[in-house]
């Protein structure tokens, strides 16, 4: 079954992962800009990263028949120094014009600090100004519930962004209902230890339905699995979910949300 992994950090993965993903049915991915595991020391470091996302990775993915798209931003883990973040943000408009860029992301909050929130609001304004889709990172573990609410409140209070053009990622059982009820799209991230397992993702689909919901691996340099999406597909299949439901969360919903950007190409 062909599928899309709509959130994976391939700059951290090997070429062999591309091969295995292609063998498992992956035909398209989207890669949000994120934290490299260390703080970059200059805006030039981000410039090189954005070039990697818009130039190098699409060519690497194409070798395996996978269409590569990306999102550009300053991630919230590097937003505490607001002055530095603004310097980097001045580079973003140029990259929003690149042919594989789908929007602004993954923006959001990490520790729910005041500066993170200020930089989030400036990213939202940038997205609004350039009519971009938005991909939102929600905080980890104990910070998720509070951060998810702060983010949704900031979007509603300070922007006229259509929630149908915003995906709130990394939802879990305690946040998914509120995200969907407020009109946003929701992403479930499949991680071995944190966020959702494939089993819990299938449970969430059973409890909350398949509308405006997708699954991603968020594979990166930490504990993660680039084949998490096909494993969740197998989990749904072995429970007896019908093919239409499985295709909706692993294909139809990513195509519907991402397809709001004319640059998105699932290769259909």
């Amino acid at each position: 079954m062909k599928y899309i992994d709509p959130h994976i950090h391939m700059v951290s993965r090997t070429t062999d992962d591309y091969r295995r993903m292609a063998l498992a049915g992956c035909v398209a991915i989207t890669e949000p800009a994120f934290w490299a595991g260390f703080d970059r020391s200059s805006p030039q470091g981000f410039l090189d990263y954005y070039r990697q996302l818009t130039d190098t990775e699409p060519r690497r993915a194409a070798q395996y028949g996978i269409r590569h798209h990306c999102w550009i931003c300053v991630n919230p883990k590097e937003a505490e120094d607001a002055g530095f973040a603004r310097e980097v943000m001045s580079l973003i408009p140029e990259f929003l014009q690149k042919e594989n860029v789908l929007g602004v992301g993954e923006i959001g909050l990490n520790k729910n600090s005041r500066n993170e929130l200020v930089i989030l609001e400036e990213h939202l304004a940038l997205a609004e100004q350039h009519d971009q889709l938005v991909l939102v990172h929600t905080p980890h573990l104990e910070d998720k519930l509070k951060g998810t609410r702060l983010i949704m409140d900031a979007i509603k209070a300070n922007t006229s962004l259509d929630p149908g053009r915003v995906l709130i990622d990394h939802v879990e059982e305690h946040t998914v209902r509120e995200v969907l009820d407020r009109g946003f799209w929701a992403g479930m991230t499949l991680y071995p230890d944190t966020k959702c397992t494939p089993q819990r993702a299938a449970d969430i689909i059973e409890m909350h339905g398949t509308e405006r919901l997708w699954m991603n691996s968020a594979g990166d340099w930490g504990d993660s699995d680039p084949l998490a999406v096909p494993k969740a597909i197998v989990e749904m299949r072995r429970r007896g979910h019908d093919t239409a439901s499985i295709e909706q969360v692993s294909w139809g919903n990513p195509v519907a949300f991402l397809g709001q950007c004319p640059r998105f190409d699932a290769g259909e």
């Binding site: 729910n112 005041r114 910070d143 449970d203």
Partner: protein
């Protein structure tokens, strides 16, 4: 298409057949973790806040109510509503440290 609030496609026997052994193993892992913690030197004289949260969460599992997963996550969440002044670290503990909020 799956409707909201759809029950599992499997019946209870099928769920037990499919998942029991896997979760029996996880339960033993949890028991072994608690035993390992108890066997270790008590270097602080107080229960680690993460273990306290874990024990409170375990009690939720057998209180007879549903929505266990959401309630465990809720129990291990920061319920304050205002942004903090400054991010002191990048990581998270898994449950709010003492003094949060």
């Amino acid at each position: 298409m799956t409707s909201p609030a759809n029950p599992s496609p499997m019946n209870r026997t099928e769920i037990a057949d499919l998942y029991f052994l896997e979760h029996r193993a996880r339960l033993l892992d949890l028991a072994a973790f608690l035993d390992r913690y108890d066997r270790a030197d008590d270097d602080t004289g107080t229960d680690d806040f993460r273990l306290t949260a874990l024990r409170n969460a375990i009690a939720l599992l057998i209180d007879g109510s549903g929505d266990r997963t959401a309630r465990v996550l809720d129990l291990m969440s920061d319920h304050s509503t205002e942004p903090i002044d400054q991010a002191g670290m990048k990581g998270a503990c898994g449950t709010p440290p003492p003094g949060t909020g």
